[in-house]
């Protein structure tokens, strides 16, 4: 589960993450961390079974952190796409197809974010990874 954790003011100096890890046994994979004097923003993948993850989030919130869950989705920016199809055969989930009129379409219901082979392969940067809050 990917989450963004925001800690502000007097809570910044508290070891909220360590305490949560210690308490729940969930693992935290830190993707990005911004630490300022009175603000701390972390993007983290919480790894563990569902109960552990839920408990970890609950624990973080109880400790005064704001937690936003989100998922990443790949979408095609139609203004940029030239319908070349360079992405199509790279998708492990068959989530990109070429229609009969040769238009390249992305099927979000099949897309499992994480590999992003299509994102790097797109010559015109029309495939973009977007975050959606859940």
């Amino acid at each position: 589960m990917k989450v963004r954790i925001l800690v502000e003011k007097d809570k910044v100096s508290e070891p909220i993450i360590s305490k949560t890890i210690y308490k729940t046994g969930a693992q935290f994979y830190i993707i990005e961390a911004k630490v300022e004097k009175d603000k701390k923003e972390l993007t983290v993948e919480i790894i563990g079974d569902k109960e552990q993850v839920d408990e970890a989030i609950e624990n973080l919130e109880k400790s005064g952190a704001k937690v936003k869950k989100f998922i990443e989705r790949v979408t095609i920016d139609r203004d940029l796409c030239v319908d070349c199809g360079a992405c199509v055969s790279l998708c492990p989930w068959y989530a990109i197809e070429i229609k009969d009129n040769w238009e390249v379409v992305h099927l979000p219901e099949k897309c499992i974010p994480g590999c992003e082979l299509c994102v790097t392969a797109c010559p015109v940067k029309a495939l973009v990874k977007r975050e959606f809050e859940v």
């Binding site: 319908d83 070349c84 790097t120 392969a121 010559p123």
Partner: protein
């Protein structure tokens, strides 16, 4: 082809007259394929005046000549950057050529010459930095300014190689993902990529260059442009013909001129080219009737790092099969990806059709034909030193059963540090170095088979020395046995041989 099929049935002048009157009959190349199939070439030739083609793909050999005008005081350009992408100077004082593949000096391939061209066409502001020679008549040595395409006196697209007739498809037999100009190729024949517009391809519809040549008016980047002759690497005999084209960048439409970045390869330019084929005889109707089922290209294995024509061909395949989304390789179904756009190719053919029908575009006959006998030859490497020019031929070898003591003696006697180990047929089975011997002594081992390295990095006779140097540095070793196709040892090359050659040269 019989003379019947070449018998003129209409002239360009007659077609242009019909365009003027508004009753010209135009179809796109894919429509023509169906018409010829259903009604036959003769009937199609009677009914149809013009067939329009189109292609839209990354064409690296593209660029534009720009004239900046003179500053006051004036500058003679030594080097010039547009949005940090260098354009080629070396022409007159304020002329330069921006090539599609030049990477930005700050952003690398993420923003290249192709993107500069797109931004020019979009009318965006471009930062220009000029380094001048500083002469009596052109004193300025450094200059910075901001321009748009409107400030340029000329912005003329001249593409040395566009509109490849067809293009070989690509796959990858190796066990790692590779990133090529044909896109990302997944390991173990994980996918196949291909390029070209198939039955919509301009040159596929006039393979004998009856109507396409110097002076043929075309669709280029959304404007009217011209064919100015054969393209570089033009290879018509094998149906890999190319064209050199020009057009006015100032008139182009950014929809058909798009900067591109091929991941881990480089920047390029997507460009749209459309060519009208006048149906001057029945033969041309027949030729424009070509279908994807009839156009074959090889699937080439890019997993083997050789020159394109020396890479193994996995099989031949038609555009119809490639366009179906999957092809069969060694009994497996492998997914395909085009890297050029059929949707755009079709749109270009349709646009050109509309221009002609609306009387906005008139056809021309070439003033000079494109040569039909050109071949595309490889570069001769006359100055490149190869392994065979440097390697030691009377190589001393050892057998697996030899004792460490004997091997140590030979190494000292012959003053060598590398000893290839071979079997009874002189085939390479391993290598020992003086370092291995020291190790053996330290650990009290007695025969070669206990210490030799079995996975030997080798060289071949024809390898350039640069490749050998790369291998030595990559694997942190100091010598390579040279082997033939059967893995028989025919020589040895060491880092001291390289320093001898290069040290004495420079």
């Amino acid at each position: 082809m019989s003379n019947d099929k070449k018998k003129p049935i209409r002239t360009i002048e007659e077609i242009n007259e019909k365009i003027k009157k508004g009753d010209v009959v135009v179809v796109t190349a894919d429509e023509m394929t169906k018409i010829v199939k259903e009604e036959g070439a003769e009937k199609a030739a009677k009914e149809i005046d013009v067939v329009t083609t189109g292609t839209f793909g990354m064409m690296c050999s593209s660029g534009a000549f720009l004239n900046f005008g003179h500053s006051d005081p004036p500058v003679k350009i030594k080097r010039v950057w547009l949005n940090d992408v260098e354009a080629t100077a070396g022409l007159a004082a304020v002329d330069a050529y921006i090539g599609a593949t030049r990477p930005s000096r700050t952003l690398g391939i993420e923003y290249g010459g192709g993107h500069v061209i797109e931004d020019l066409v979009k009318g965006k502001e471009i930062e220009v930095e000029i380094e001048g020679y500083g002469t009596d008549c052109y004193p300025v040595k450094k200059l910075e300014t901001i321009i748009t395409i409107h400030d340029l006196n000329q912005a003329i697209m001249v593409n040395p190689r566009n509109a490849y007739q067809k293009y070989a498809a690509a796959t990858n037999s190796s066990d790692r993902t590779i990133y090529t100009y044909m896109g990302t190729l997944l390991p173990n024949y994980g996918n196949v990529t291909f390029s070209g517009a198939g039955e919509l391809s301009p040159l596929m519809n006039d393979p004998d260059y009856e109507t396409i040549g110097l002076g043929t008016r075309i669709f280029l980047g959304g404007a009217q442009g011209y064919v100015i002759g054969e393209g570089t690497q033009h290879n018509p005999k094998t149906q890999f013909g190319t064209l050199m084209v020009k057009g006015n960048l100032k008139e182009m439409d950014p929809r058909y001129v798009r900067g591109a970045t091929v991941y881990r390869y480089g920047s390029s330019l997507f460009i749209g080219v459309g060519i009208p084929i006048p149906i001057l005889n029945v033969g041309l109707a027949e030729k424009t009737g070509i279908s994807d089922e009839e156009i074959f290209v090889p699937i080439v294995d890019y997993g083997v790092p050789r020159r394109a024509d020396l890479r193994p061909v996995v099989r031949k395949v038609s555009y119809a099969e490639l366009k179906s989304g999957k092809v069969e390789i060694n009994g497996m179904s492998v997914r395909t990806s085009p890297v050029s756009s059929f949707k755009m190719a079709k749109e270009i053919a349709e646009t050109l059709k509309k221009w002609i029908e609306q009387g906005e575009f008139f056809l021309t006959l070439p003033v000079e034909r494109v040569p039909l006998d050109r071949e595309f030859r490889p570069m001769p490497l006359r100055k490149t030193l190869r392994v065979k020019d440097v390697m030691v031929r009377d190589v001393i070898t050892a057998k697996e059963s030899d004792s460490i003591e004997n091997v140590a003696k030979i190494m000292i006697e012959k003053e060598i540090n590398h000893l290839p180990v071979v079997d009874e047929n002189n085939k390479l089975v391993g290598i020992v170095t003086s370092w291995d011997i020291s190790k053996a002594v330290a650990q009290g081992l007695d025969t070669l088979d206990k210490i030799m390295t079995r996975e030997v990095i080798t060289a071949t006779e024809d390898e350039p020395l640069e490749e050998v140097a790369k291998k030595l540095s990559k694997f942190n070793i100091s010598g390579l046995p040279v082997v033939d196709k059967e893995k028989k040892v025919i020589g040895i090359i060491t880092s001291s041989d390289l320093s001898r050659v290069w040290g004495s040269k420079k």
